[in-house]
């Protein structure tokens, strides 16, 4: 009897590609709690987290043949959780819109609205920090998906100026994000 718990993640992935069930079970054992919690931190709902973990592992099994070793297994799994979480957010947002139309008095949210509102606020704060003109160009372009030409017409400025504002907005956002992101990376390394 081989003890799979002694295998490294990479070895398990190699075995998984050969449809080794025990390798799959070992990965599940190793990552179940971590992934469940990773989802829980952003959903605060254990039923949805079950869906997240289930989905991630089913996809892992279904895609076992094409699993590549270019990214670490842990990275792959945490990212899969993240995508699933955002997928659930998206579903909730669309569902809310739909429910509001059908039952305007009913609140059918399953995801804590705190998260959705916080995400909106997070984006707003970053955009809010931009200079006035820059901000309106950014909003029209990235939130309302208008073309540079349309924005130029709307704000009565040249297309070149629109491009200039946009470049400025994006690079400013980038700087802000790099500052906060590096802090978070440092913290998460610290706590590992």
């Amino acid at each position: 009897m081989i003890d799979y718990s002694t295998y490294s993640d990479n070895e398990l992935v190699a075995l998984l590609r050969q449809s080794d069930v025990e390798a799959f079970n070992q990965i599940y054992d190793r990552y179940f709690m971590k992934l469940f919690d990773s989802g829980y931190k952003r959903l605060y709902n254990s039923v949805l987290c079950e869906e997240v973990v289930q989905d991630v592992f089913i996809k892992l099994w279904e895609r076992r043949d094409s699993m590549s070793l270019t990214t670490a297994l842990s990275n792959y799994l945490y990212t899969a959780v993240k995508y699933k979480v955002f997928d659930l957010y998206r579903e909730q947002l669309v569902h809310d819109k739909f429910m509001q139309a059908v039952h305007p008095d009913k609140d059918n949210s399953t995801i804590e609205l705190i998260f959705l509102n916080d995400l909106k606020a997070h984006i707003e704060v970053l955009v809010e920090g931009l200079p006035d003109k820059c901000r309106s160009v950014y909003r029209l372009s990235r939130v309302e998906h208008k073309s540079n030409k349309e924005i130029a017409l709307l704000l009565n400025i040249s297309e070149k100026t629109v491009e200039g504002h946009l470049t400025k907005a994006l690079s400013k956002l980038k700087l802000e994000l790099q500052a906060s992101a590096s802090l978070i990376v440092a913290m998460s390394w610290w706590l590992k």
């Binding site: 829980y40 709902n45 997928d87 997070h122 980038k174 992101a181």
Partner: protein
């Protein structure tokens, strides 16, 4: 930014068509919650195990359903793991023992050096455990079970005390044998119940479907039926009286107490707990009571398809942050106490 705009942004994020800045914005936000507490650290080891097993089972059912053709028959481990629960036989073993009245409210699982797992349920909940052959067992409060980490040899042997419900995966080549205080119950690929009440009282076995054999503990269990072995068919029961040291067969057994193990097909959409409890009581012929009126208004969405009552209670526990307690013949729902660290 409204909901639809955010939904569109997330849609592009998932499809990989966001700009690098947008990706950075979303990732930064996501990472903000990296160090907030998760759920598993607030659960006991046994609760974590339950959660893990439950999801594992769902994953395996899903994979089995889709890839049944992938199963390689020459690999026994695969066959064991992907056994469909639909093909499972059901066994209930009910034995009441006198010596587990301790006040400790935890479950412990001990894996001893000789590769045996001993599980003792000291909670007031029903605790579920998956056995090496993917059979499942639900332990009532104050019950214990012992089995090998891997079933080897010709039989699947389980030793138990207390009250247990088994869903045994079908494997005719390896009989499933439950040894309890008074008797030995052998599954011939079916569903049935064993009830063994106390050291001084009686024991019984009730069959739901298929065939089961029961032998008195004093008789050595053989793989083949001996004259002392009682064969039971559906809706039949055998009662063992310790005083007489003998079996008595009942041809029309009362099956209502088996209802909590039925798997139901119900889902709730934005339903109040009080409504859910009413439906569950009817479906399971149970006596669930909400102990605290504040819980009645708790609302949940839940898909309870394919769950039995103990499974349903686990779902309620997790999603409504409540707890339950088996008291006499009732199930009391109580608000969850503040999570204690493990």
């Amino acid at each position: 930014m409204d909901n639809i705009q955010l939904a569109e942004l997330l849609d592009r994020y998932i499809k990989g068509t966001c700009t690098p800045e947008e990706i950075a914005i979303i990732n930064t936000w996501y990472n903000k919650y990296q160090n907030t507490p998760g759920l598993t650290e607030t659960l006991s080891p046994i609760q974590n195990q339950l959660l893990k097993d439950k999801i594992s089972q769902k994953i395996q059912e899903h994979i089995t359903g889709k890839e049944i053709g992938d199963i390689k028959p020459h690999k026994p481990v695969l066959r064991q793991l992907w056994v469909k629960i639909a093909a499972a036989a059901i066994v209930i073993v009910l034995i009441k023992m006198a010596f587990f009245n301790g006040g400790v409210h935890t479950s412990d699982q001990i894996q001893s050096a000789n590769n045996e797992i001993r599980l003792i349920n000291r909670t007031k909940n029903i605790v579920k455990q998956v056995l090496p052959d993917s059979s499942m067992v639900w332990l009532s409060p104050n019950s214990r079970i012992t089995y090998a980490t891997k079933f080897r040899g010709k039989t699947r042997d389980v030793l138990m005390n207390g009250e247990c419900f088994f869903e045994v995966s079908k494997d005719a080549a390896h009989p499933f044998i439950v040894t309890s205080n008074h008797m030995i119950t052998k599954v011939w690929g079916t569903s049935f119940r064993v009830r063994d009440a106390g050291t001084s009282a009686s024991a019984s076995v009730t069959v739901v479907t298929g065939k089961v054999s029961v032998t008195k503990k004093s008789i050595v269990a053989n793989a083949k039926a001996t004259p002392k072995e009682v064969m039971l068919h559906p809706k039949e029961a055998v009662v063992y009286k310790e005083q007489a040291d003998d079996f008595h067969t009942e041809l029309n057994a009362d099956m209502t107490s088996l209802d909590i193990w039925k798997r139901i097909n119900v889902s709730f959409d934005n339903a109040k707990l009080s409504e859910i409890v009413t439906v569950l009581n009817k479906k399971f012929n149970a006596n669930i009571r909400v102990d605290d009126v504040r819980l009645n208004d708790a609302v949940m969405d839940a898909d309870l398809t394919g769950l039995n009552l103990p499974d349903v209670l686990e779902v309620l526990k997790a999603s409504l942050r409540l707890n339950y307690e088996l008291r006499d013949n009732a199930i009391l729902l109580t608000p969850s106490k503040t999570n204690k660290p493990n």
